[in-house]
Amino acid sequence: MSPEHVKQLIEAALPCTAVEVEGDGHHFYASIVSTAFEGLKLLDRHRLVKERLKSQLDSGELHALSLRATKTPAEAA
């Protein structure tokens, strides 16, 4: 899987205004800006992303995803 593919999975799972993904094909690192994070503390933002990608993470299609930053558009501005 390429970082670009992971980016597309995240964009399909969440309404994103910006997504950056780096990775080596096994372990990926994502920074996400999304309106879905508004009003959520960091723990709940991470829970939301992992929940929305649960099927890909459980199946092993997406092996390991670290979240570097999860911001709202206002926080990213």
Binding site: L42, L43, H46, S66, L67, R68, A69, T70
Partner: protein, 105 residues
């Protein structure tokens, strides 16, 4: 005492608790090592629980917070997050504030 009782007692009786693989001096996993380093960078006093010493706690801590991975950080009984969340909170300065707000222990 069950594993859940042990975990609950540990996180409520200590202001800062890190469940980790290995010890702060000899971490057995890169993510646990990173978590320890972040707390040290905050000059935080914390209690470390080595889950590798107890299989029931190793599984139990995942159930307790409904969080699938270790390390796990607790402050004042509240689950804060794993290593990614600790890193992001440290990066934006929030973790330092949360730890500074604690009464001296």
């Amino acid at each position: 005492m069950t594993a859940q009782e042990f975990i609950h007692q540990t996180v409520t009786e200590n202001p800062v608790v890190l469940f980790m693989k290995g010890t702060p001096t000899f971490p057995q996993c890169g993510f646990s090592a990173g978590a320890v380093q972040i707390l040290k960078n905050c000059n935080a006093q914390f209690v470390a629980i080595n889950v590798l010493e107890n299989p029931e706690v190793r599984q139990g801590i995942k159930d307790y917070a409904n969080w699938p991975t270790i390390p796990q950080l607790y402050i004042k009984g509240e689950f804060i997050g794993g290593s990614d969340i600790m890193r992001e909170l440290f990066g934006n300065g929030e973790l330092q504030k949360m730890l500074a707000d604690l009464p001296a222990n």
